[in-house]
Amino acid sequence: MAAIRSGSTPQAVSRRRFLHAALVSGPLAPAALLAPRGVRHAWAQEAPKKGGTLRVGFYIEAATMDPHLSGSKIDRQVYHNIYEPLVVLDANLGVKPGLAESWQQPDAKTLVFKLRRGVKFHDGTDFNAEAVKFNFNRMKTEPKSVRKGEVASIDTVDVVDPYTVRLNLKRPDAALLATLTDRAGMMVSPKTAQERGAELERNAKGAGTGPFVFVEWVKDDHLLIRRNDAYWNKQGGPYLEQVRYRPIPDDTVKLQSLQAGEIQVMDYVQPRDVAAVKADKNVVVVDVPSLADFAYQLNHTKPPFDIKALRQAVAYSLDLEQIVKGVWLNVGVPANGPIPPTSWAYDRSIPFIKRDLAKARAKLAEGGKPGGFTFTMTTNNIPINVQEAEVMQAQLAEAGITMKIKLVDAGTLISDGNARNFEMISFQWSGRPDPDGNTYQFFHTTPGTSLNWSGISNPQMDALLDKSREISSQAERKKLFSQLTRLLQDELPMVFIVHPIEPKAFSPRVQNYDPIPDGMMRFKDVWLK
């Protein structure tokens, strides 16, 4: 990283250079990604200053300010500053206390939270067990609630005492805690929710407990939040006076806005811009290994991919290293499965499927198509997807497999996926902190329309997935997920390509950004020089 700033020590510089070398050029060592702390940028060692307006550019604006009705990723970015979940994620994807001070599981179907005292919602009402119960009920019963699936395992919620709440589960759910670190665990003020009704989607004043308070949202223009001086956590920030979010749909314009100083934070740098941006002295780049997995779903319910051997032929024909190097410019690692290297469940010992044209041809013969076959791959019309598709097309052609590319817009992609109207279709999942969130809904037998677009129904897989939800020991679950990964590499409901890194770019004035792999930008302790 050539962003040499005054005040940084030579040691810090060379460490940055080393990390830069390790992360950008050459094959990535998963170790660098497994220990995100090692990636921590060396921020300036001064005392934080209060004040200033942080201008943030995202590619679209939020869709709603009601976390229970939210379905879009960008909404979460704002939520993590004005709302707070019961539990939070740390840089290692560990679950730490949030609005809940501690929790216990007396048995597999019960979860008891002890809540933090002295926390008030921005509208002045108290945060307590009644509020928690109200929130979970709202998530389960509100007609337009998008959280229903996430809290499906919760049966009833009991208020034990004003600061203790008990969740009674329908079944053991080892993934629930991790799910509660995001929207499903975010607490909205009952008073504001009831008073404001549907208006809450536009106006979240008074609704949260977080380090920032919602001020205004001028649709299509900007969203403004300001510092909560009455924030309960007196350690650290918030320092910033205001944070102003602006939607800038065009990546290149967004980057240029950052370079021109019009915005100070950018949520994602395209791989093609990463090298140039890292060389730019006016920009600081922080690589955030993400939870995402980018893959292609294969339709098991109709030819040609109803035949396992043909799926495997495709997998053996692809050269993941070349794709990650040539298309993603090493801003990511080849994927061995749906679980990203940032997760505790990631099994380093399982290699990603390496290219082997001999095996590919053998599989073609085994599948009854020794001369190769033709299929259509449906993907989204964004530049990097198109690029990846073209590279894949060339790779498959070398094995005798002809892949046709069908470009569609996002609406059509989702529709085709849900209707299983595809042979191979692009699927980019933003990822969840618990490995269950990257696996269950895609690979478990599910009747009706679901995210299991491939239509896979494998009893062994189902058993593994179900068991992983029941056991609570992380070590045990990790073993199950390793088994699952191996099974996935064999059955191939999806061909996994890459676990991308999300490089985030900042003006050099921005200090103290703490990168958490979920990609959410939390500004509590951030300050402007």
Partner: protein, 290 residues
């Protein structure tokens, strides 16, 4: 369009005279040359391209223009010049194809409306007005999504967008020409409607239609580029100039040749088409001859 109403004051357009005058217009040869070059390039693309436009060479991605690659390489190492030459096919098909559809559909509709008059005329022209008042990009986008991805969808969508222009033009020509005396004479002599249309209306209507067509082809090629920008696309790995510009715009700072190669081709072709169109239009009206 300011010249066309005047032009119809000429009694009997001498077609060869028109061509001669068109050829004499100063910039016409340049326009014709460009067009010829483009068509030849499109037809003989496999022969003329120095490299395979689809061959990727990730090690040589984003190479500067040089001896091996006259216009450099793109982000997956493909030769830009070869892609531009092959792209000529796509752009010309998009341009000429959509205008051909519009000319035929619009021409027939205009003929029908102008000739039949009355209710039919009213209905057809209302339909054309409806299409015209539809925001064109939205119309093309939605049609493209309905018709399915690919060049065919784009060509049909653009064809629909341009149809009203030709319909109006043809109708206007029909109305003007059928009002002329020799048509009355033909009618009085008992010539059937279709024969009059064929022998008198069409030949005289062709000139303005040709002018409009050449200009529309230019716009269609530009429109296809805009549609690629918004994501309605030619299916990869085939590429039109528009989709190449779109794919390359993220690399404008690092590797501007990816954009300027097809951009220049697009610009020159469109300019050439405009010259040809202008030349024919100027030739129609000797008073405007440059």
């Amino acid at each position: 369009m300011a010249g066309s109403t005047r032009g119809s004051g000429i009694a009997e357009p001498a077609r060869w005279g028109t061509l001669r005058r068109a050829a004499a217009a100063r910039l016409a040869p340049f326009g014709a040359a460009v067009l010829l070059l483009a068509v030849l390039g499109a037809v003989f693309a496999p022969v003329v391209s120095p490299h395979d436009p689809l061959k990727q060479d990730l090690d040589r991605a984003l190479a500067r223009p040089g001896r091996a690659h006259l216009l450099g390489t793109d982000n997956v190492g493909r030769d830009v010049l070869s892609r531009v030459i092959w792209g000529t096919r796509v752009s010309l098909v998009a341009g000429f194809g959509s205008v051909a559809i519009a000319m035929v559909a619009g021409g027939l509709l205009g003929l029908l409306a102008g000739y039949a008059g009355g209710r039919v005329d009213g209905l057809v022209m209302r339909l054309m007005d409806a299409v015209l008042s539809f925001p064109p990009l939205v119309l093309a986008l939605a049609l493209g999504a309905v018709l399915g991805a690919g060049l065919t969808g784009v060509v049909i969508a653009l064809g629909v967008v341009y149809t009203p222009t030709f319909a109006r033009l043809m109708r206007g020509q029909v109305l003007t020409i059928t009002a002329r005396e020799y048509v009355d004479a033909a009618r009085a002599l008992g010539a059937p409607g279709w024969r009059i249309a064929w022998a008198h209306v069409l030949p005289n209507a062709t000139a303005p239609i040709v002018v409009q067509a050449s200009l529309s082809v230019a716009f269609a090629i530009l429109a296809e580029a805009s549609l690629s920008f918004l994501g309605l696309g030619i299916q990869p790995p085939a590429a039109s100039w528009g989709s190449m510009i779109n794919a390359g715009r993220g690399y404008l700072q690092q590797a501007p040749w990816i954009v300027f190669g097809p951009g220049a081709a697009l610009f020159v072709t469109v300019v050439g088409l405009n010259f040809v169109g202008d030349a024919v239009r100027d030739a129609l009206d000797p008073r405007l001859r440059v």
